[in-house]
Symmetry: C2
Subunit: 116 residues, 2 copies
């Protein structure tokens, strides 16, 4: 089997840095393809293809306006990623750092049975 398609889910779609950049740009509001091309410094076909992937996983929506196509971010499609990773947030929070220190100390004390 090969790697899962980029259009499989938000996780795969967002693994590509360019697509994260596009999302970041769209966070500032609706944009036409040409704007994105300029801001990304990428070829127009490449941008269009990245946008297609983002559309297929519903991370963006499109709207026609004359000969332009305005893309808009669909934030909620990122929720699955957020939900998954949020469960691990505690692992680098300050409170956890403290807990970690405490555990370290306990381990040390156990290792050397002769306390003080």
């Amino acid at each position: 089997m090969a790697r899962a398609a980029t259009t499989t889910d938000a996780f795969n779609a967002v693994a590509e840095p360019r697509r994260r950049q596009i999302i970041d740009l769209l966070a500032g509001g609706e944009r036409a393809v040409g704007d994105l091309v300029r801001e990304l410094g990428l070829g127009q076909p490449q941008v269009s293809k990245h946008l297609r992937v983002l559309r297929e996983v519903e991370l963006v929506t499109v709207r026609d306006q004359g000969r332009q196509r305005l893309y808009r971010l669909n934030g909620p499609a990122l929720k699955p990623i957020h939900d998954w990773v949020k469960g691990y947030e505690v692992l680098w929070s300050e409170r956890f750092e403290l807990l970690d220190d405490v555990l370290e100390d306990l381990k040390k004390e156990q290792g050397d049975g002769s306390g003080d």
Copy 2:
């Protein structure tokens, strides 16, 4: 150019569902490869390969114990993903839903200039 290597960063490593599963299992504590093989229902070489990817992006660490290799989750390596996606959290929060409704109403009122 081809797709970026799975070992490029946490984003790419975690795009594979099996590797997310492994991380979820390791969240319960250190485990030997054999345990993961049983719990994933995957072949041993496949699991070892997934673990290699996770090691290369420092999502896990290893420790030898006899002929076993105990893998442990390194949570903080997930922080970059969390940081990125957290910026969009507001887009599906309840408060945002409300704000969205308000904006909808405003737009409607503007469209039809003849108020009441």
